[in-house]
Amino acid sequence: MLGNTRNAKTLILWLAVSVILACAVLLKLQQQPIKFNADILDVMEISQHDRIVTAAATQPFYHRALLLFSSPNNTLTEDYLRRVQHLLADIPLVKQVYFNPQQNMDFQAIAKTYSAFPLSLLSDKALAARQRNNVEYIDQQYIRMLSQLADPLVSMTIQNAPLLNVADWLADKHPTSHWLQQGDFLYVKDGGKRYYPIFFEFDAAATKLDQAPPTIAAIQQVLQQQNTEDNVEYLSSGLIFHTAAITSRAEFEMTLFGGLSILGIVLLTLLSFKSIWPLANILLLTASSAAAGMAVLILVSNEIHLITLVFAISLIGIAVDYGYHILLMARHTQKQGSALSKHIAPALIVGGGSTLLSYLLLYALPIAFLQQVSIFVGSGVLFAIFTCLTLLSIWPGTIKNPPLKEPKITQLPAWSYKLTLYTVVIIIAVALMQWRFEDNIKSFNSTPQSLIDSETHIARLIGNQQYPRFISFSAENTQQLLQRFESVRSALIDLGYQNAQLQGIDQWLPSHARQQANADWLKQGLVNNDFKTINAYTAPMVIDTLIKQPTTLLSLDAVPDVIAQHYPAIVHLDERDYGILSYLGVISPDTVALLQKQLSFPVQLLDQPQKLTQAMLMLRQYILYFLGLATCAISLLMICRYGFLRGLKVALTPVLSALGGLALAHLIMGFVTIFHLLASILILTLVVDYVVFCQEHGKVHHVNKAINLSAITTALGFGMFVFSATPAIQQFGLTALLGITLGWIMCATLPTTITKNKG
């Protein structure tokens, strides 16, 4: 075979293209290593502003997690907890593991920081007293605090803030919670059981799709080893557990079903050709196409979305389809080399061209990951055609068999096509009558029930502290923003919300306006000798200093990091400052509307699921535009190739298959999502190939066989996904299975009046 100079040249050409591609990729990787982006938010069209503000809001919460340990007989030992803490702390991307969220707080340092502002800070009650000019409150609170059995805050602050208003203010900040304490350990009691928490703080990278599973797997391994010995049970709470569970399951399913799909292809190919060479060719074709797609993607992109690769799996189905056609064609015609490539080129170019055109249209959409799908599949299809016309043409591995006498095709009656057509149209019409697009991000939630149960249990035990709601607002500068914090907080309290559950940096940083008013009021009280007890116990010189020294005002940069990190940061964006107030509970849009009525500036509920739902809606609309354009492009291409009427009839099969697949999926599931639509792209491109081959070579046995093989492998391969527990994968698989089956039936019943029957 290689003796043939022409074939040798073709082989060299294929190798040259492959080597050039490989070298280019290596060169690119040397200059700039490729980054894989696993952040699901980055594939959504969410505004930069929303993304930054949402990230700031969620930052204090999303990188944290919680485990609650219990043992059936309450024999959980401190030794066990310390041992587990030690082992967990060694896991990569785990930043901190601790028993008490406040254990890292240096209260003395905090007290010292705030005591430097001796007149600026007033507790909520003292503030209310100031507003009523109730000067007695300060004196009474002074007596009350000194009368306490022991209050370290008094000792820590009284030196610099002798009115004890700072001690009072700091005491106000102590959060109420459900925890009880046993030495260094906290616990909560329920049903006679004690639950001991271990708190986690992760590196930001840990919550990414690619890092969450190994991090959680390492945690689970530690727990499994330790818990077996000590018979300990645990509950978990935290975004990272959900991310890891969902990603691991999706990966497992993709591997399982992908593996089964490949196994199906291998078995079918072996069964059909009864030789290893065609199988090797099919595998070479799919692998080289995927590699070429990846290579081009690496060359043109600096960052690849992992989700691109999930959807780019369609390429395998398309490449396998081309492979079957060329191998069966070679066997049937006993042609090889340029003769074979010339014979199959028109069908491949028209079919592949339609596919290529469809995927190139995807590039026109302003969604980065869809553009990457377009590049990957487009390049892969191009390379698959190139490999078919070069390598597989000169080395099909199927011509050693004796020429086959093509069995006669039993032409199905013309009414069978009409029956299929009308049935599909009726299915589409019925589905259209109740058509509903589902964009709600919650419908794609595939969190395992055990994790949801665990979250619910923890929420019941310790209150809903893990997933707060956020309200954001902006101002021209930090001081105006802090005043707005105070207004929003006050308005929410008026609406019945609990102050303690409204978390914001303003709790530790009153506005300068408020601080100045506090200081003025206290100074006036000192000047007027309103605080009798304080004056009796404090040296006159100290009082005099307080009155005469200029008021010091607390600013953002003075707030200790150990405190600031627990609250959403103030975001400076587009010449404005954005503040975020979080609430550990539910805030409905109606509440926000009521809140808005009380305020003179706009507030916004940062609802990430809502934002994602909107992004999904937009993405779905783009996919719909694309599908419309792809349908038009395929129709035009078919019209150009086969004439107007026949071209339209040819185009009808893939379009109806895709629509029928969607309609059937809708009738089964009750709605259609973006993942159903993405599957319909695959249906469209594959069924176009089927009808084009029927047109180009007629409904002959080897064409039918190639279509059968392709349809069976694709339908089974993607159809396996219907067993997936991940909604997105299941929706994709169901639509692909139904659509490809419909396309296959329609091709099988295509009358010769539509096809060019060479049989």
Binding site: L146, I158, W179, L180, Y537
Partner: protein
């Protein structure tokens, strides 16, 4: 902070258990037999021109917990039980101040006869007829240097020496405090 209060109460109540306690068990024993008394608290704080004195009563009932009532110079009542520390309001209702402390658990553990928990928080030593409690707990260690309990014939003195040098002395007397009613 309130961990300290609870621990102090544990020690205070225990202190009255036996005029010459030799161990924590003896303190607990007295608490069970003589659970009512008075206290006089003196705060020696460097910045104050004179010690700050307060007086009041304590009352312990195993079923309801401990009531710590300050009568002078301001009236204030704390209830300590398994739920945490509550401040008794003017209308008789109680407001939970915080529950994230070991007080109730420690107290109940102690009174139920399990003194191991107290030993986990402190190194317990005997010094010149007094019981010395040296904090082990990291958070408490940041604030408290030493707690001593010194019993005498008819009273006991509890001293809390803070890290900064401030000192609180609580004199415990197993008799009711007689305070003249305020002038009408």
């Amino acid at each position: 902070m309130r961990v300290l209060i609870g621990l102090l109460l544990v020690v205070c109540l225990g202190a009255l258990a036996d005029p010459k306690p030799t161990n924590i068990d003896a303190l607990r024993q007295f608490t069970l037999t003589n659970p009512v008394g008075t206290f006089i608290q003196k705060k020696h704080i460097k910045v104050l021109s004179q010690p700050f004195i307060s007086k009041g009563e304590y009352h312990f009932e195993p079923a309801n917990g401990l009531t710590w009532t300050t009568i002078e110079p301001v009236q204030n009542q704390l209830m300590i039980n398994a739920k945490g520390i509550s401040e008794i309001q003017h209308d008789g209702s109680s407001k939970l101040m915080t529950s994230d402390n070991a007080i109730s658990a420690m107290m109940l553990t102690l009174f139920m006869g399990n003194d191991q928990q107290l030993s986990k928080e402190f190194v317990v030593e005997k010094r010149l007829g007094c019981l010395a409690l040296i904090p082990i707990n990291t958070q408490i260690k940041l604030m408290i240097d030493l707690i001593t309990f010194c019993p005498a014939d008819d009273q006991a003195v509890l001293s809390i020496i803070e890290v900064g040098g401030n000192k609180t002395e609580i004199q415990l007397l197993p008799i009711p405090l007689i305070i003249p009613p305020p002038n009408p």
